[in-house]
């Protein structure tokens, strides 16, 4: 087959939004897929651990409604990668419910495929026993049985294979659990017989929306076209344009290495790629090399609850106090510890963040402090919420009233912007699993279902 395969990426994250006109400009081309990434680990472990999203249902529905109402009547498959933010079961179900809601509002039916990416604790235990698990980088500790037992939500990043299978089955909407970000895009090209190196490289670019254009943004649409030995990318918004440098530079983004990318079952080598402008704003890329790995590894992600947090935000304007801030904070911490001497110190931690001074870099800040005001955030993380809040209240009242040496402002040390001052944050999570697992067979289960408006039920 010698046809060009075109993929429209509406935005870099489902629920981030995009100008509808950009999307409509993409529909002027003959499209083979509308693909959107919906997940990331960037926002930390909380989404995966707590089973929640970081975009609102309202925003996801708004984006998806545009995609479904344009794609379904034109028979263009629609693929959602890493549904719901982390691609675990609860995230996928949340997304499916939104799709059903849209389909019934549009009075449409669709063949929906779901590709699950969850792994049970038993499956991970077994893989560990068989020596199929290893840390992803040197600073990640080896996986222990205790870590597996305390991690309730574990997913793996799928490759293109199960998505291609869903396309072969004639799916109109494919909802993927956790996927390697480029995989859902690569699946379209590979399904149509295109080179996997080009398909994945294009996927790596498209998954971020228009971030590879100038000015770059994740909140706009982009078009990718795969030919025989190259692919092209172009902005769908006349206010942005792609250049060879902007597209080449995009491979840097969020990746550990500028031109070597490790995906499920392969390495992508982009060192010898060529980036050329074929017509104004259209960049052609060639030379992307797909190197199949000897063993098929997928990346596992798991998050577990480690503590509960209560925190306070306050401002300090008093120059005398600012001059001895760390000293006062040390005193406040030790006072609270002394007051709760019956509670083991390992049950909780007290931390101060001095914004305006070294809030971002902490002990690694090298700039000398200059300023007349500091924003202080202090937190207590503890075994239970009750303990965190109790200790935080003591820290707050001690800090507020402590009569440090040389104090003139004897009425109070902190300016709270809000009442109440203490904010219960809830559980705190950590990435407890971030390891590679060798797969021996296809572990991502596909479920075929019909979604949407039911004529017989409506009658």
């Amino acid at each position: 087959m010698n046809t060009d395969i075109r993929i429209l990426s509406p935005c870099g994250m489902l629920g981030y939004g995009f100008p509808e006109q950009s999307f409509m400009n993409g529909l002027k081309y003959e499209l083979h897929g509308i693909v959107v990434d919906a997940g990331s680990t960037d926002g930390g472990p909380h989404k995966l651990g707590a089973g929640v999203s970081i975009v609102s249902k309202r925003a996801v529905k708004k984006d998806l409604k545009i995609m479904l109402s344009a794609g379904l009547p034109r028979n263009i498959p629609i693929i959602i990668g890493s549904a719901g933010g982390s691609g675990a079961r609860t995230h996928v179900n949340w997304t499916l419910a939104i799709i059903d809601e849209i389909l019934s509002e549009l009075e449409m039916e669709a063949k929906v495929s779901v590709i699950w990416a969850d792994f049970t604790q038993d499956e991970i235990h077994q893989a560990k026993r068989e020596g199929r698990i290893q840390p992803l980088s040197p600073n990640i500790p080896p996986l222990t049985d205790e870590m597996i037992d305390t991690t309730k939500s574990i997913v793996a990043q799928m490759g293109h294979e199960p998505i291609v299978e869903a396309l072969q089955a004639g799916s109109e909407i494919i909802v993927c659990g956790r996927a390697y970000d480029p995989s859902p895009f690569a699946a379209i090209g590979i399904f149509h017989g295109k080179d996997p190196g080009l398909s994945y490289h294009l996927g790596k670019i498209l998954e971020c929306g228009a971030l590879c254009a100038e000015p770059g943004t994740t909140k706009d649409s982009i078009l990718g076209t795969i030919g025989e030995d190259s692919f092209t990318v172009q902005s769908l918004n006349p206010a942005r344009t792609c250049s060879p440098t902007s597209v080449a530079a995009h491979t840097f983004y969020e990746k550990e290495h500028p031109y070597i990318l490790h995906g499920p079952g392969f390495t992508l080598d982009l060192e010898d790629c060529r980036f050329e402008e074929t017509e104004p704003g259209i960049v052609r890329v060639s030379g992307s090399r797909y190197l199949p790995a000897e063993k098929y590894f997928v990346k596992l992600e798991g998050a577990r609850r480690v503590a509960y947090r209560t925190f306070v935000i306050a401002g300090i304007r008093d120059p005398i106090l600012i001059g001895k801030l760390e000293e006062v904070e040390d005193y406040v911490r030790s006072q609270a510890r002394e007051y709760y001497s019956e509670i083991p110190e390992s049950d909780y931690q007290i931390r101060f963040y001095n914004y305006g001074k070294n809030g971002v870099l902490g002990s690694k800040e090298t700039e000398p402090f200059q300023g007349h005001e500091v924003g202080v955030m202090f937190e207590v993380v503890a075994r239970t919420q009750e303990l965190a809040s109790s200790i935080c209240a003591t820290v707050r009242s001690t800090f507020l009233h402590y009569g440090y040496e040389g104090r003139k402002a004897t009425a109070g040390n902190l300016a709270f912007p809000f009442a109440p001052s203490d904010i219960e944050f809830g559980p705190v999570y950590e990435f407890s699993v971030y390891h590679l697992m060798e797969l021996t067979d296809n572990a991502f289960r596909i479920e075929f279902r019909k979604g949407g408006y039911k004529h017989d039920r409506a009658r």
Partner: protein, 108 residues
């Protein structure tokens, strides 16, 4: 004296996964890129001093000519969003690199 923040077009930091921070420095022109690359100022040593990390914490330091940029990936002390982390997305860890002085290369 020229500092990196004045020459670079893009100078940013971001997580590359929850256990690493990656620093990207990209340039407008091949001249600027070559000047910085050939200055010899971008070394593991300089990054260690700027970020107060040990050499084994630098996972990659790579120049990519086609993109007119270089990348440095370092391990995080605390993984993204865990207790004690100060920058969940790792998006504000680039600032120390902006002040890095770029000297003339000795060959020039």
């Amino acid at each position: 004296m020229t500092v990196l923040g004045d020459v670079a077009k893009v100078l940013r930091s971001k997580n590359s996964g929850p256990f690493e921070i990656t620093l990207d420095v990209l340039f407008d022109s091949k001249d600027d890129y070559d000047r910085v690359k050939q200055s010899g100022c971008i070394t593991k040593r300089t990054i260690c001093d700027l970020y107060r990390v040990k050499e084994e914490q630098i996972h990659h330091l790579v120049f990519f000519d086609q993109a007119l940029g270089f990348k440095v990936t370092i391990s995080r002390d605390i993984s993204s969003g865990s207790v004690g982390d100060r920058d969940v997305y790792g998006a504000q860890q680039h600032a120390p690199l902006m002040k890095l002085a770029i000297h003339q290369s000795e060959e020039e």
